[in-house]
Amino acid sequence: MSREELERVVVEILAGIAPEADFAALAGNEDLRDALDLDSMDFLNLVIGLHERLGIDIPEADYPKLFTKDGLLDYLAAKA
């Protein structure tokens, strides 16, 4: 899957969690939890969404890699 496709999937999942979130406007190294005001339940729901949509396993130990936009897309590109 291309990076653009992955980004689209992330945006779709986030729409159900934080409807006002503007993922595209984030800087690559910005912490999404701060920028999009995601609490731990929101972040878990993002991980669940990625798990279900992309069929990938995301161990808890890997969560910190997903905290920035670049980190998240790099991680997904390597896994999906």
Binding site: E12, I13, A15, G16, A18, P19, E20, R33, D34, D37, D39, S40, M41, L44, N45, V47, I48, H51, E52, D57, I58, P59, E60
Partner: protein, 423 residues
């Protein structure tokens, strides 16, 4: 003959607007069935009926705002003979009485309907009419997609409309992400033929509700405050181990351990679990923990999870996820807003380190958990180590309990969090 009344959904609620009937005259209702949707300052709430019998008459038309306690429907108990329809019981519009009744207690009697007949229903308001039968999830989906339920054919039990029916009617792919709320166009309005239905809540009204409850708390409740710092290394290690081989939907958040420990500690100090009413303490009927949920756009609700002390950690996590989802999209139930016997506020992983919360009347205590942070800690052998810790606070109503009891309660939470496998 029983009257189903506008419920009090918390100490701060004075009135509600009936926006949807989910039953019609002749329907059989059982205890706990969601029979109506009421718009409150906290958004649209699905109201359960705690009477049993046959709906004889709907007394309040859609779109009407009525004070707490106003009869909404007459329900004939099983075996009772039918009666002739009574005069309409909608009282004239007037200042709503203050909601002095406790959450969870029977609603106060409605104002006498003496002059009721004098006030005609607004011309625009249609007669009380039931909406089509549909599951709550289907109703939300219909609202999201702007599909009038009247146009959807139900294939569920007794012809109830399901999510799949709604999506089929909308021609929407089931996997489509949740759409933003549609503008209040003709389609949305047609759905239930009532004004002012929307998903979510009005931030201005929500602010008023919070202001009323918190002002009352600070005016009436002599708070005392306690704090304990609790080592979390065992609890976090337990979670890490437990979540390691589980797919994301089955993973637990630390909040489940904090809630369960609170519930178990409350079982040992029941003096903190209940209400201050009419000059005395009344114990709660169970351990129903209100969970404070921050809403996007500002505002806060603290719906209850029932019988937390008896739920497994998995069941508690599922309940928590479901509750947060429904709090944010609309669809909380009346019992969830009125039943909490103690509230827990947890600031989560990006919050401040500690919170000294304000009690939600008429409850008699509230528990606060700060962010889990790594701090220097002296371990059992006297060595200095870095440990994840959480600051646990209690605000207690000094009319109902003292710091000694509160201290025992916090000590019990601390002890339980050192033995997470027993939770």
């Amino acid at each position: 003959m029983a009257l189903f009344r506008m419920p009090s959904l918390g100490a701060d609620m004075e009135a509600g607007t009936l926006v949807e009937w989910l039953v019609k005259p002749g329907d059989v209702v059982e205890r706990g069935r969601v029979v109506a949707v009421v718009e409150t300052q906290k958004g649209a709430i699905e109201v359960e009926c705690f009477e049993e019998g046959v709906v004889e008459e709907l007394l309040v038309p859609l779109g009407r705002k009525v004070p707490v306690g106003t009869p909404l429907a007459r329900i004939r108990a099983p075996g009772e003979p039918e009666t002739a329809p009574a005069a309409p019981a909608v009282p004239p519009a007037r200042a709503a009485p203050p909601a002095s009744e406790p959450a969870g207690a029977p609603a106060p009697p409605a104002p006498a309907p003496a002059a009721a007949a004098a006030e005609p229903a607004p011309a625009a308001a249609p007669p009380a009419a039931p909406g089509p039968k549909a599951t709550p999830a289907a109703r939300r989906r219909a609202l999201e997609l702007g599909v009038p339920l009247a146009r959807v054919r139900g294939t569920g039990p007794e012809g109830a409309i399901t999510v799949a029916d709604v999506e089929a009617a909308a021609g929407a792919a089931p996997a489509a992400p949740a759409a933003p709320p549609p503008p209040a166009g003709p389609a949305a309005a047609e759905r239930i033929a009532a004004p002012a239905v929307r998903r979510g809540f009005d931030p201005v009204e929500m602010r008023k509700a919070i202001a009323a409850a918190m002002s009352r708390a600070k005016r009436e409740i002599p708070h005392y405050y306690l704090e304990t710092v609790v080592a979390m290394h065992r609890a976090l290690a337990f979670l890490e181990e437990r979540n390691r081989d589980r797919p994301p939907p089955e993973r637990l958040l630390p909040a489940t351990l904090l809630l369960k420990a609170t519930a178990r500690a409350l079982a040992k100090t029941p003096e903190l679990n209940g209400f201050w009413l009419e000059g005395g303490f009344r114990p709660g009927p169970g351990i129903h923990l209100g969970w404070a949920i921050a809403l996007r756009g500002g505002g806060l609700v603290a719906p209850a999870i029932h019988d937390v002390d008896r739920l497994s950690l998995d069941a508690l996590m599922a309940a928590l996820r479901d509750l947060v989802q429904r709090a944010r999209t609309g669809g909380l139930r009346s019992s969830e807003l009125s039943d909490a016997t103690l509230t827990v506020t947890s600031l989560g992983e990006r919050g401040a380190e500690a919170v000294w919360p304000v009690i939600y009347p008429p409850q008699v205590a509230i528990v606060g958990f700060g962010r889990i942070v790594t701090r220097p800690w002296v371990d059992e052998e006297g060595g200095l180590v870095a440990r994840p810790v959480v600051r646990v606070t209690l605000a207690g109503d000094h009319r109902a309990s003292d710091g000694h009891l509160g201290s025992r309660f916090l000590a019990e939470i601390e002890d339980l969090l050192q033995r997470p496998e027993a939770l």
